[in-house]
């Protein structure tokens, strides 16, 4: 009986659900447009690009949740101060890292190929960057209060969140599990940040 009820309910809500699939794509599409047009191809200084990127990046990504995920088992063991120090350094450094990576953008188009629902209000938005060869990018989103936040970007099967998590686990294992040491290391890297083609 429960199943039948769910089925009937499903019929009623199907159009709504079908529609609800679009906003996730729309979210990523708008974001990509905005980042490309107001940052990547905009004729402004790199410092200005970085500050614009920081704004979009911190709004679009759920960096707090990502930060928590990437610390893995060490999150629970860290003190409040360590967590704060880590999150700040992590946000700052990943912003710079990705601003630098996106800066290599050469006008490639991004095509959205679909969206898949996942559990717990999560969505995967599938896209292809029309590069040679093409690059498959999956955006993992979480919906909360009618807005979306990105919780992971999966490029050719490589999950960024997973990669950070594996990297930090290795670092922490070799540094006695000290989240403070990791935070200091990230802060130092962030302070010494240089754009890729400005070396020496």
């Amino acid at each position: 009986m429960k199943k039948v009820f769910a089925f009937i309910l499903g019929l009623f809500f199907m159009p709504a659900l079908a529609k609800a699939e679009n906003p996730a794509i729309e979210f990523v599409d708008n974001l990509a447009d905005k980042v490309i047009n107001t940052i990547l191809v905009a004729d402004v200084s790199r410092d200005e690009k970085l500050s614009r990127f920081r704004k979009e990046f911190t709004e679009a990504l759920d960096l707090k949740n990502i930060g928590q995920f990437v610390l893995g088992i060490y999150w629970r063991k860290a003190t409040l101060e360590e967590k704060d120090a880590f999150l700040n350094a992590f946000m700052d450094f990943t912003t710079k890292t990705w601003a630098d990576r996106f800066d290599m953008y050469q006008g490639q188009k991004i095509v959205f190929t679909g969206v898949r629902n996942a559990e717990r209000n999560q969505f995967y938005v599938d896209s292809t960057i029309q590069n040679n060869p093409p690059v498959e990018v999956i955006w993992r989103l979480k919906q909360k209060d009618n807005t979306y936040r990105i919780i992971d970007i999966i490029i050719e099967g490589v999950s960024m969140a997973m990669s950070y998590r594996n990297e930090y686990s290795a670092y922490l294992q070799n540094h006695g599990g000290s989240v403070q040491a990791l935070a200091d290391e990230l802060k130092q890297k962030s302070d010494n940040f240089k754009w890729s083609d400005q070396k020496e």
């Binding site: 088992i73 995967y124 686990s169 070799n174």
Partner: protein, 255 residues
Amino acid sequence: MNKTIVGLLSFFFLIGCAVRPTDPDELRIYEQNNDPMEPMNRSVFAFNQAAHKHVLSPTIKGYRAVVPDAIRTGIDNFLTNLKQPVYLVNALLQWDWKAAGQITGRFATNTFVGFFGVFDTATDAGIPAPKRDFGQTLAVWGVKNSGPYIVLPLLGPSTVRDTIGLGVDAFADPVDWVLYSQNPWLSYGRTGANGFVKYENMHDLMENMEKNSTDYYATMRSMYQQNRQKEVSDLRGETTEVQAEYDFDFPDDEE
């Protein structure tokens, strides 16, 4: 592979095994990393990094400074075209007729229209460029377990399965048979050139990873494993959803 290298590798293997952690959380990470030879791998990785810094990177920067962009692309295209026969062999072994057709079309187009492969006419014509190696073939055949992670001297990240694949590909490459029968040095020269061009393509990405990582070794390992896993899953017809299905659940308001 010659005897000295095999001997050295087995020696490093004996001294290079990691200790299994006892803490259950750390054990989970240890098993997920699939890297029981980590100490040895890290030594080889350090060697590769030294080679990168002192030899390979300066050579590549020199190559880029001296050889114009268009010629570098031509060299890359030419060498890539010569890899198509061994890709074709693997596509056939994987029963992948579609890829086999694309590879054949690509090879014919680039060889005859693209001036012996110097121009990538096939890509301009919209022919996809599947790359098929024997490591994948083994996976398609049912060798699901890649075996432990291995860092190869100069060649970089691999697994036991992919290392075997690399060996078989080197041995089974039809172009190599032809070159070798003419003059062994043609075959060695081509192998070296292939490695160099592949390295040149990876160079900037590697520098970027190194610059942005707190543990470059672990970053490379993670990315290699994930990317290879996806490649193999795609060929085996498994969905990408499965791979992305790691636990991403945390309480929303935990401070």
